[in-house]
Point group: C3
Amino acid sequence: MDLFRLLNVNELAVALSRMNMFPYFEVAHYIVSVMSLREQPGALEVSRRSPLACWFSAMLHCFGGAVLSGVIMAEAPVEPLANSTNILLASLMWYVVFYCPQDMVYSCATILPIRLVLTAMKEVTRTWKVLGGVTQASKKYKDSLFVMIAVGWTKGAGGGLMSNFEQLVRGIWKPETNELLKMTYPTKVTLIGSVLFSLQQCQYLPMNRPQLMLLYTTFIVINKTRMMLLGSSFSLLIWIESTLYEVLFARPLTCSPLTNQTHSHITSSCSSSEAKSTSCVKNGSPLPQEECKVSEKDKKKTE
Amino acid sequence: MDLFRLLNVNELAVALSRMNMFPYFEVAHYIVSVMSLREQPGALEVSRRSPLACWFSAMLHCFGGAVLSGVIMAEAPVEPLANSTNILLASLMWYVVFYCPQDMVYSCATILPIRLVLTAMKEVTRTWKVLGGVTQASKKYKDSLFVMIAVGWTKGAGGGLMSNFEQLVRGIWKPETNELLKMTYPTKVTLIGSVLFSLQQCQYLPMNRPQLMLLYTTFIVINKTRMMLLGSSFSLLIWIESTLYEVLFARPLTCSPLTNQTHSHITSSCSSSEAKSTSCVKNGSPLPQEECKVSEKDKKKTE
Amino acid sequence: MDLFRLLNVNELAVALSRMNMFPYFEVAHYIVSVMSLREQPGALEVSRRSPLACWFSAMLHCFGGAVLSGVIMAEAPVEPLANSTNILLASLMWYVVFYCPQDMVYSCATILPIRLVLTAMKEVTRTWKVLGGVTQASKKYKDSLFVMIAVGWTKGAGGGLMSNFEQLVRGIWKPETNELLKMTYPTKVTLIGSVLFSLQQCQYLPMNRPQLMLLYTTFIVINKTRMMLLGSSFSLLIWIESTLYEVLFARPLTCSPLTNQTHSHITSSCSSSEAKSTSCVKNGSPLPQEECKVSEKDKKKTE
């Protein structure tokens, strides 16, 4: 009975790993990406004022991973344009989501069950993208774990990682935040996936690729669905994260008196910046951003 | 008689297509590019405060197309520096336009007839640049129309497309606008040229390359001269553009009531952003930017 | 006696040129780079709020030269990650400088004699980096002096040249200044080094490579030590710089009346921008930035 179950899971894993993303999953990815663009403040306005900027922004949402991983691997960022079919499909989805008469497509796609299915399908493409990035990197840089993680991550979460510049296309500039300063859920889960697939690629994991693909895909699909329905994230992840933070990075923000006196003539910025920042990290809590941002703004004004 | 005329035009086209841009047309391009830099607010100030930043900015004006098309094709952006003759010529033009005693060169170049000739010669180089970009792309990506259009466009209008970053070199940052959000005339006409030459390259146009070069060059030279003398743009283009806009992209900016109720717990940004933006696109007119910008600024202030 | 001394110097130069930067000098470079990051305003705060952004920023400080020269040479910017040993070493230094219990490592490293030794060792690595960049460029672009200078410069002073984007990682955006507008000492001295090594590579200098390496290394180490102890820069350099500036670039900022009248209908920005800027360069002094910045801000406010 157990053997039978094992066989089944393995067969399922292999079948999944051979599944083709084109066209259904790709299309779901385009629709969900364009919808997430449309739901950003000011995006609809831009779509009316400048369709070209809106289209370019939508393409960065759909193909951001390929563009960014191209940039860091010194491969042509214009490459996604070479696949005419995908570009035309993505452009069509962009058009119907933004400009369909009566707004029919967007209205339908936002009905919860449809949106759930589309989002789940989009999450499935994430596995393929991360894996694609890891494989691409491993061809050029054999055994280089860090490069694989970086390329897999940018391929899977490129749109998010370059969001500052994607917003710039639409005339919005928010330098005070980015995906590294405050990771969103997709970026975080893609990083985890990229680490796992890179470890598997270097054969540090006791598991073959189809099994890992099945495991990771199941995890991200279930977790995302759960988040959309309940509005809360996977609690285990948050617990691991905050434990790691507490052990490794939580330190008080005070200069030792020794330091202040010894090199006060070399650098005077230390004490002042710390005087300013101690109020921000009062009790060692990781993310007191509201207060910090305020002081940041005050700083800019007084400068 | 008609045959004779045809022969003549064809011969003229072939002769034009064999014309060498170096050195006269190149020099005109450098002078006009540097002059357009000098006429930007704050540029003269920067030229006195930091000649190096001014020089770098001038080189981006002169070779921006080569740099940007290099970036998107994964070819070295430092490549233009390898052509010492061109760099030295461009640097010389930069120097005489900005620092000539008594400001003689700039004063002469701004006399209308001279400026007209220089600008017309600069426009001629545009044809060669766009064509160069299209050919370069077609070598690497055969039959890929979109890549050809993109590379031809960036090669011909690179300076404009990267203007945000060119301004950053001079310490100016205007995120609220860029060439995609609000295309200027040169960017627009280069895009048209790039589309035409790419179609010709893929043999979708009933015309050979020298003929298209003659046609396009004549069009941009006449149009630019007309604009400089009369201060108005080619009305046919504007008519085509606004018709296309009306048919394809002019949609009212209201959420259907259905949508608002169904997914209000998933995204609440839609309704608020639209409430804000309805005032901007009141009567479906394409470019009511003044009002929009004001609301954008208000938004920032209240944030 | 003289011959003996010459032999000695030559032997010393050859011995120096064969010296291996790994691991001691590299580690000193990492420590000093991470310390300079830590001493920037707001960096400590970021290290507590987002260790990942802080780590990425530290890597840009340590490997910025490799990343930036990779970008301009169209080689993979992710390449530094492929050298796992260096990345792990740099990450370790980042960790101990920012998060060591009791802040011991940073406190020790800021004791003046230790800091002097570390900084001197870091300066030695500059020679190797500049030389590495020049050699790398000369392989791809033979005899192209400008490319060699550019690549050597970016390799040696990459972290500084891309400081705007390094700050962006930490959520700070200061568009009004950059290394080209206002060069800092390291950027300036690296540019000089890059010019010298490029000239030597093209055999325009009456000196072989080990000799130049010894000369340049001695110069930058002594000068940096002098600056740290006395807080003043090498006066000869400043004198050369201001003389060059006076001869080449110091011009009054007034439009000739001729110009204003002739082309007033083509460009109206010239007169206004100059009216604004004359107050900034009152007496031809090169760097009256305080006043200029104020007017820049006023301009932005009124826009």
